[in-house]
C-alpha cells in the first residue's frame, strides 16, 4: 500500500490550541498514525522532511465560484483546482450561479464527473436553491444530494419571496441539507458604495447596511421558526453581526466573511480600481473592525474566499459596469496570516479553525478538518516564516482580477496533500 511519512513538522492541535512535534504516517488516503519517530517500513514509502514547517488540516472553502460549465475561459475546474492547492485548499464548494445553473441532478452529476477527471482536490458542487436561481420554485434537493450536491444556495441572489424561502428551508432541512443564503435585499442596493460619507464623496450610491441586515434578520426568523440549518455567507456589516450573535444561541445558525472584508475597507475605492469592486461592497473602517471582533468572539464561523474570476475585458470597464468580485484562493491564507495573525488581531488557532474544522462541521464532513488518526489525509504544510510578494505570474487562475498583486503576504504553502497524495509541492 502507498504510504507517506511527514517527518518533524509542528502539528496543530486545534482543540487544545497547541502545536506538537510528531511524525504523521499517511496510508490509504487516511491518517494512519501520529507518533514520534515513525520509521520507514518499505521502499515504496515516501518521506517528506518537514522540519520547520507547520502541518495543518487541508483548508476548506465554503464559498467559491468556478465558471464551469459555461465560462471555462474565466475559470475551469482544472484551473480552480490548481489555484486552490497552491493556496493550501483541499476542499472547496463551488457556487451554482454558473452560466448553466446547477439546478438539476443531471447537471450536478456532470459537474461531479468533470471534477473526477480534472481536479486533484475535492471540489463539491453547491446546488441551486430554486430553479434557475429565480427564487420561485424549489429544486430536487434529494436527487441532487444523491448526485453529490453538498449544500444549496441561490448565491448572487437573495430569495425575496418569504414563502419560497420558508418552503425551501423547511423541505431542505427535513432532508438534512444545508442552505447557504446570500443576504441582500436588492431593492436596498442603490449602488456599489456604502451608506457613509466616504462613499457619498466618491459618488458611489449606497448598498445600505439595511440591505444585508434586513435580509439576515428575515432569514434567521424563518430558520428559527422551522429550526432549520442556515448558513449566512459573506457577511459584511456590524449590524448583521449583532443580529447573528443573538440568533446563535440556536446552534443551527452559522456565518462566514471574506478576507477582503477583514483587511480592506472602502477607502481603497478612492482611485476607482475595479479590482476592488466586490458585492457586498468593501466595508467602512468601523464595520471592518467589528467583523474582526466577530471573528475573534466566534460569531463568525468561517473565512471564505468568494473567489470570483472575471476576465480582464470585463474588469477594464467603468466602475459601474465592471462585474463584482475578486479571485482569492491563492491569497486567503497569506493575507489572513500576515494582516490578522501577525498584526495580533487574532491568533493562529482562530485563523485555522475558520478554514478547517468549522467549515467541515458546517458541511457535516466528519472525516475532514482535523488532524487525527483515522481522518482523511487532507493536509497542508506551511512555512509560517516565509514572507513573499504575490506576483502576477504566481496566478494560476484563468482570471487575474485581484487587487493583491504586489502585496506582501506571509505563510507559504510548501506541500498540499489531498487524500494521501501530494498534489502540490512548491
Amino acid at each position: 500500500m502507498k504510504s507517506l511519512i511527514i517527518k518533524g513538522a509542528k502539528v496543530i492541535d486545534i482543540i487544545n490550541k497547541d502545536f506538537y512535534k510528531k511524525d504523521v504516517l499517511v496510508e490509504g488516503g487516511k491518517i494512519k498514525l501520529i507518533s514520534k519517530n515513525i520509521k520507514k517500513k518499505n521502499s515504496r514509502c515516501k518521506i517528506i522532511d518537514a522540519q520547520g514547517l507547520y502541518l495543518f488540516p487541508g483548508f476548506i472553502d465554503l464559498h467559491c465560484h468556478i465558471r464551469e460549465p459555461g465560462r471555462e475561459d474565466k475559470e475551469s475546474i482544472k484551473t480552480a483546482s490548481l489555484s486552490a492547492q497552491w493556496g493550501g485548499f483541499t476542499t472547496i464548494l463551488s457556487m451554482p450561479n454558473t452560466e448553466v445553473c446547477l439546478d438539476t441532478p443531471e447537471k450536478i452529476s456532470s459537474f461531479v464527473n468533470a471534477v473526477k477527471s480534472d481536479s486533484t482536490i475535492n471540489i463539491y458542487p453547491c446546488g441551486a436553491l430554486t430553479q434557475g436561481r429565480k427564487g420561485q420554485k424549489i429544486c430536487e434537493y434529494a436527487l441532487m444530494m444523491k448526485e453529490g450536491a453538498l449544500a444549496f444556495s441561490d448565491d448572487g441572489n437573495w430569495i425575496e419571496d418569504s414563502s419560497v424561502m420558508m418552503l425551501a428551508l423547511n423541505y431542505l432541512s427535513s432532508l438534512g441539507g444545508l442552505c447557504i443564503s446570500h443576504c441582500e435585499d436588492a431593492k436596498l442596493t442603490w449602488g456599489p458604495g456604502r451608506d457613509d460619507l466616504l462613499s457619498f464623496k466618491l459618488g458611489l450610491l449606497p448598498f445600505f447596511e439595511l440591505s444585508e441586515s434586513l435580509s439576515v434578520s428575515r432569514d434567521i426568523h424563518i430558520a428559527s421558526f422551522l429550526k432549520a440549518r442556515l448558513h449566512l455567507t459573506h457577511i459584511s456589516t456590524g449590524s448583521s453581526l449583532e443580529i447573528i450573535k443573538k440568533a446563535k444561541v440556536q446552534k443551527f445558525i452559522s456565518c462566514d466573511t471574506c478576507p477582503h472584508y477583514l483587511i480592506l475597507d472602502n477607502s481603497y475605492l478612492e482611485d476607482f480600481n475595479t479590482n476592488f469592486k466586490v458585492n457586498p461592497p468593501l466595508p467602512s473602517e468601523k464595520d471592518r473592525k467589528t467583523l474582526i471582533k466577530g471573528l475573534k468572539e466566534g460569531v463568525i464561523d468561517c473565512i471564505t474566499t468568494d473567489h470570483a474570476p472575471h476576465t480582464l475585458e470585463e474588469k477594464e470597464s467603468s466602475f459601474l459596469d465592471a462585474p463584482s468580485g475578486m479571485i482569492g484562493l491563492q491569497t486567503l491564507f497569506g493575507l489572513c496570516f500576515k494582516y490578522l495573525v501577525e498584526e495580533g488581531l487574532i491568533d493562529i488557532f482562530t485563523l485555522i479553525e475558520k478554514i478547517t474544522i468549522n467549515p467541515a462541521r458546517i458541511l457535516k464532513m466528519d472525516s475532514k478538518g482535523v488532524i487525527e488518526e483515522g481522518k482523511d489525509a487532507d493536509l497542508v504544510l506551511v512555512d509560517l516564516n516565509e514572507e513573499f510578494i504575490f506576483r502576477e505570474q504566481d496566478i494560476l487562475s484563468s482570471s487575474k482580477n485581484t487587487p493583491f498583486v504586489g502585496w506582501r503576504l506571509k505563510g507559504k504553502v510548501k506541500y498540499t496533500i489531498c487524500g494521501g497524495d501530494v498534489v502540490y509541492k512548491e
Binding site: 451608506d195 464623496k201 466618491l202 450610491l205 476607482f272 475595479t274 470597464s317 467603468s318 466602475f319 459601474l320
Partner: protein
C-alpha cells in the same frame, strides 16, 4: 506654482492652482469680449472630447474653449456604452491614444472613469462630469462667478438646493467652496439628501424657507424629472411647493444674494419664471464664465 497633470476632482487639486485658474480665466474672459477671440496658446495641440454620456452644453463649452485656444478638437460622443459595443473602456481609450491627443476631456455616467483613464494615458485628463461623483469645471466656474461678484469666497454662506444625492455639481461645489472657507449648507427632500452628509460639516435643511434667510449664494440644482417616477419624491408639484424659488421666497432674500443654476433650468419647477428677468442674466453669465474657466483649465494643463 505647483503644476498638475490631470483635473479629476477638486479634493486633490491644490488651492493655489485653483487661484491660478481664476487669474488666467479673468484674462481669457477679457479676450472673449474682443472681436477676434482666438489666442494661439494651444496651437498644434489636440484636445479630444470623449463623451460617453449625452451632453450638449458642457461639450460645446469645452469645444469652444479649445477652439479659442487654437487647439485641434476631436469630438468622440456616444450614448451607447462602449461595453454594449463589445469594446472595453480602456480599449476605447487606447484607440483615442493612437490619435496622440494632448488633452482628453471625459464625461461618463460612472463615477471614476476619468481616474481609470488617467492611469493609462500620456495625455492630461479633464473630468467633465463622472456620474454622481464630480464635475470640477462646473464648480470652478461657480466659484469664479461668486468671486467676481463678491470679491471673495471666504466666510460666505452658500446654499445648494435640490437633489444632492445624485448631484456631481453639489459634491464638487461643497468640496470647492469649503476649500476656500465658505460655509456650505444643503436643502432638499430628505430622500435626496443622505443623512450622513452632516459628517462633512455641511448643514442640512429640509425647510427651504428657513434655509434661505441669511444666504449670500444660492445654487439651485436641476431636478431630474424621472425622480418622481422612481419614488424619491411624490410629484413635481409637491417639489415645487416645497423647494421652488418663487416670487415670495425671492423677495425674502438679502438684496445681494446671488442666484445661480448650472443649467438647463426647468423654469417653474426649480425657479419661477416670474423672477426670470432678475435671475437669468447671472445664469447666462455663468455660461460665459464657464468658457473662460475651461480655457484656463486647458491652458494650465497644457503647460504641465
Amino acid at each position: 506654482m505647483k503644476k498638475i497633470k490631470h483635473l479629476l476632482d477638486l479634493k486633490n487639486t491644490p488651492e493655489e492652482w485653483i487661484e491660478e485658474v481664476f487669474k488666467v480665466a479673468t484674462s481669457f474672459k477679457e479676450v472673449l469680449t474682443r472681436p477676434l477671440k482666438k489666442v494661439p496658446a494651444l496651437r498644434g495641440k489636440t484636445v479630444v472630447n470623449l463623451f460617453f454620456e449625452p451632453s450638449t452644453r458642457t461639450r460645446i463649452s469645452f469645444e469652444m474653449a479649445a477652439k479659442f485656444l487654437s487647439a485641434d478638437v476631436i469630438n468622440f460622443s456616444t450614448s451607447v456604452s462602449s461595453i454594449q459595443k463589445g469594446e472595453s473602456l480602456l480599449d476605447t481609450l487606447r484607440n483615442i491614444e493612437s490619435l496622440s491627443a494632448d488633452i482628453v476631456v471625459v464625461r461618463d455616467s460612472s463615477p471614476g472613469t476619468p481616474y481609470i483613464l488617467s492611469k493609462y494615458t500620456q495625455a492630461s485628463v479633464v473630468n467633465a462630469g463622472d456620474g454622481t461623483h464630480s464635475h470640477p469645471t462646473q464648480a470652478l466656474l461657480d466659484m469664479f462667478t461668486v468671486k467676481q461678484k463678491k470679491g471673495r469666497l471666504e466666510g460666505l454662506k452658500v446654499l445648494i438646493v435640490g437633489d444632492i444625492l445624485h448631484s456631481r455639481v453639489a459634491r464638487s461645489n461643497i468640496e470647492g467652496f469649503t476649500k476656500f472657507g465658505a460655509q456650505v449648507s444643503v436643502c432638499g427632500p430628505a430622500n435626496l439628501i443622505p443623512f450622513y452628509i452632516s459628517d462633512w460639516k455641511v448643514k442640512v435643511y429640509y425647510d427651504f424657507d428657513q434655509a434661505l434667510e441669511d444666504k449670500d449664494v444660492i445654487i439651485m440644482l436641476r431636478i431630474q424629472r424621472e425622480r418622481q417616477n422612481t419614488g424619491y419624491i411624490p410629484s413635481l408639484r409637491e417639489y415645487r411647493y416645497l423647494y421652488s424659488l418663487n416670487k415670495e421666497r425671492f423677495h425674502r432674500l438679502k438684496k445681494d444674494t446671488l442666484i445661480m443654476h448650472p443649467g438647463p433650468v426647468n423654469w417653474d419647477i426649480e425657479i419661477s419664471s416670474k423672477i426670470k428677468p432678475y435671475v437669468h442674466p447671472l445664469i447666462l453669465e455663468q455660461v460665459n464664465n464657464g468658457l473662460a474657466i475651461r480655457m484656463a483649465v486647458l491652458y494650465l494643463l497644457s503647460q504641465g
